[in-house]
């Protein structure tokens, strides 16, 4: 089957500042691909290049199997939803939604003020368009809003009108540039749900830009993370969470963020935390400093003072509903903080100011070399200083 979107070695620079370098990416039909990354990583620029609003310096874009490099956004048969909705404020919601179809089906003269009344077929076409607007509005439940202007709509309603404008052309590709970031927290969660639902109903391909990893994790079928204009990793949300390819991905995905502990590799490949073995063995790599990544839910605290464990002091405990987040400081290295996620019913046993032993299952740990890339690991058959 043809890919919905194919990017080949896309590069872009603004002046001397390189924004994107050699991005390769393919998106299958029906996928919901999120482009994530910190601000300035080039994700919006990449989306604009796909849309045709920006020209790449090198590389090729193919949409639905067709090379679109020289084509205008309109000819690419895509739709885009913007962060600020970008609705035309002087037009009603219905007129906003109708615009792409009007431009498609009526000539320029037939759309000009006054002149358009001369066209014999205009009325017929406009009636057909009105029917299609009704169908789209019905799908998004915005029929009562059609006569209103954007200024009279709330943020969530505007977002729906913008979605309707995107849907009405039945594009082969939906592009969304942080469409939820202007909504309040509650509405954002709700719209997340609606977008996922819409994606499923339409069966269309979505490319969704966001800086919010939760949006990416909850909605996408795949996530492409960009960092400094390069593709840091692409994979399913589970892959990015469970096997981050680099420190940057590990830190970006997951909330609260992953704990990164400074560790050391001994000449035999054992990973040492301070002077204590962790039960983790690097498959390759030289002796020296490495980083050990531990998700907050993978750390266990032990009240028993076992000297074979790294120790940490509980500084603060935060209520998060079903869970509680414990903030600890390593005893040996006060600079390094730790966050541990504990189910609410286990929390009474932990008291601020007390010191606990840190334990974790070695197979849940992530190891990164000094340049930040993931290192392959093995676990020692006999676990030392660790308990799950």
């Amino acid at each position: 089957m043809e890919h919905s979107l194919e990017l080949a070695r896309i590069s872009k620079a603004f002046g001397k500042a390189g924004v994107l370098s050699e991005i390769d990416l393919t998106v299958a039909p029906g996928e919901f691909l999120s482009l994530v990354g910190p601000s300035g990583c080039g994700k919006s620029t990449l989306l604009r290049i796909i849309a045709g609003l920006e020209r790449q310096d090198a590389g090729h874009v193919r949409i639905a199997g067709r090379a679109v490099d020289g084509l205008s956004p309109r000819a690419r048969n895509i739709a885009m939803v913007f962060q600020n909705y970008a609705l035309y404020p002087h037009m009603s919601a219905a007129e906003n939604i109708a615009l792409p179809l009007m431009v498609d089906r009526l000539s320029l003269a037939e759309r000009l003020p006054l002149l358009r009344y001369l066209s014999p077929r205009r009325k017929r076409i406009e009636a057909a368009i009105a029917g299609e607007i009704g169908a789209v509005a019905g799908a998004l439940q915005i029929e009562p809003l059609l006569a209103r202007k954007p200024g009279q709509l709330s943020g969530g309603q505007r977002q729906r009108v913008a979605l309707a404008r995107a849907m009405v052309r039945k594009p082969s590709l939906f592009l969304m540039d942080e469409p939820l970031s202007n909504l309040d927290a509650q509405l954002r969660v709700h719209m997340r749900d609606e977008l996922t639902d819409l994606h499923r109903r339409l069966g269309a391909t979505f490319v969704y830009v966001t800086h919010d990893q939760i949006e990416a994790m909850t909605m996408s079928t795949r996530i492409a993370m960009l960092d400094g204009g390069r593709l840091a990793q692409i994979g399913t949300p589970t892959e990015l969470y469970e096997r981050p390819a680099s420190l940057i991905v590990a830190r970006f995905i997951g909330s609260p963020a992953i704990n990164i502990l400074p560790a050391r590799l001994d000449p035999q490949g054992h990973v040492l935390l301070g002077s204590l073995p962790t039960g983790l063995l690097a498959a390759e790599g030289e002796a020296g400093p490495v980083s050990l990544g531990l998700r907050p839910e993978h750390i266990r605290l032990h009240a028993v003072c076992d000297r074979a464990m790294p120790m940490a002091t509980l500084r603060r405990s935060e209520h998060h509903g079903a869970d509680r987040l414990l903030h600890l400081d390593l005893v040996e290295d006060r600079q390094t903080g730790l966050i541990v996620r504990i189910p609410q019913d286990e929390t009474t046993q932990y008291q601020p100011g007390e010191t606990y032993g840190i334990g974790f299952a070695p197979d849940k740990a992530h190891l990164f070399d000094p340049s930040g890339l993931r290192m392959a690991t093995r676990t020692l058959p006999a676990r030392i200083g660790a308990a799950a």
């Binding site: 849309a51 205008s72 956004p73 885009m80 970008a86 404020p89 431009v103 000009l112 200024g151």
Partner: protein, 305 residues
């Protein structure tokens, strides 16, 4: 209960009720603005109205009440009627010309990147130049024998045109000079409006297929500039109504080229007929007021969304 009964006795001076105190405070807050408004605008206006009903002349020892006599005289005065007609013609030419040319220049200048600063300054220069001084330059430029404009016309095979003496050309010539003086200012206002248009809207238009220049202008630029256009239209028409300098310097109202303000100036400060002049001023103000109110209401309904 006892404390309640004692309270009035302790408090001899009855305190003002809350609404009364609020009313007093509110009044005090309003006083400065009211005094200024009265002293600066309403009192002079009232003086003008009273004067316009008299035959007051500068230096006169007596003053006579005429009622509406001055206004009756004005309406039958051929000079005033001509001045009125000329002014309306001038406004009718300068208003659309000034708005459309200002918009056109702003669109062109906005499209420049590096040379934008130069064009902004170039077009704005006439605004900063005093029209009286520049009128001398225009007089030379338009001179039938010496002026370069007629020189060019002749070189192109046309006969020479007496821009400043042919009566039917006087108002059009003044219009061109007025536009030259005005366009830079309107351009700056339109540029400010253009800069404020969100980029997203142009992107959306591009995606929707309305990316061509005409579609872009009709879908995004023009509607987004509507509030600016209304402001420009109001200021331009007021400026046009007040045309005076070019008439005073270049034509002196000869050959039927009087305009309202020049007529007022002549009556009041050349012939010293202050009462009559005041009546003409009242008519002038009435026109300005009606025009501004009409524009504000008419356009306001369409530019805000």
């Amino acid at each position: 209960m006892t404390t309640l009964a004692l309270a009035p006795a302790l408090d001899r001076v009855p305190r003002r009720s809350r609404p009364a105190r609020e009313w007093l405070a509110g009044t005090l807050f309003v006083v400065p603005a009211t005094v200024l408004l009265l002293a600066i605008i309403l009192a002079p206006l009232l003086c003008l109205l009273v004067l316009s009903l008299t035959d007051y002349e500068i230096g006169a020892l007596q003053i006579r009440w005429l009622g509406l006599g001055n206004f009756e005289k004005a309406l039958s005065d051929p000079v005033f009627r001509r001045a009125m007609g000329n002014t309306l013609l001038y406004v009718a030419l300068v208003l659309p010309g000034g708005v459309l040319l200002g918009l056109l220049v702003a669109l062109l200048v906005h499209g420049r990147t590096r040379s934008r600063g130069f064009y902004e300054v170039a077009y704005f220069l006439p605004v900063t130049a005093t029209l009286i001084a520049m009128a001398a330059v225009w007089q030379f430029l338009l001179h039938p024998k010496l002026g370069p404009i007629n020189g060019m016309l002749k070189a192109a095979g046309f006969s020479e045109i007496a821009f400043l003496s042919e009566p039917s050309l006087l108002i059009p010539t003044l219009t061109v000079i007025g536009l030259w003086n005005l366009i830079g200012f309107n351009m700056i206002l339109f540029l400010a409006g253009l800069t404020a248009i969100p980029r997203d809207l142009y992107d959306a238009a591009e995606i929707d297929g309305a990316g061509g220049p005409i579609d872009r202008f009709l879908t995004v630029t023009w509607p987004q500039l509507a509030p600016t256009t209304m402001f420009v239209a109001v200021t331009t028409s007021i400026t046009a109504f007040k045309v005076f300098d070019t008439v005073a310097v270049l034509t002196r109202g000869r050959d039927g080229s009087e305009v309202l303000l020049y007529a007022i100036y002549l009556e009041g400060f050349q012939y010293f007929k202050m009462g009559y002049s005041a009546a003409l001023t009242v008519i002038f103000l009435g026109f300005m007021l009606a025009f501004s109110v009409f524009q504000a209401f008419q356009l306001d309904r369409r530019v805000h969304y």
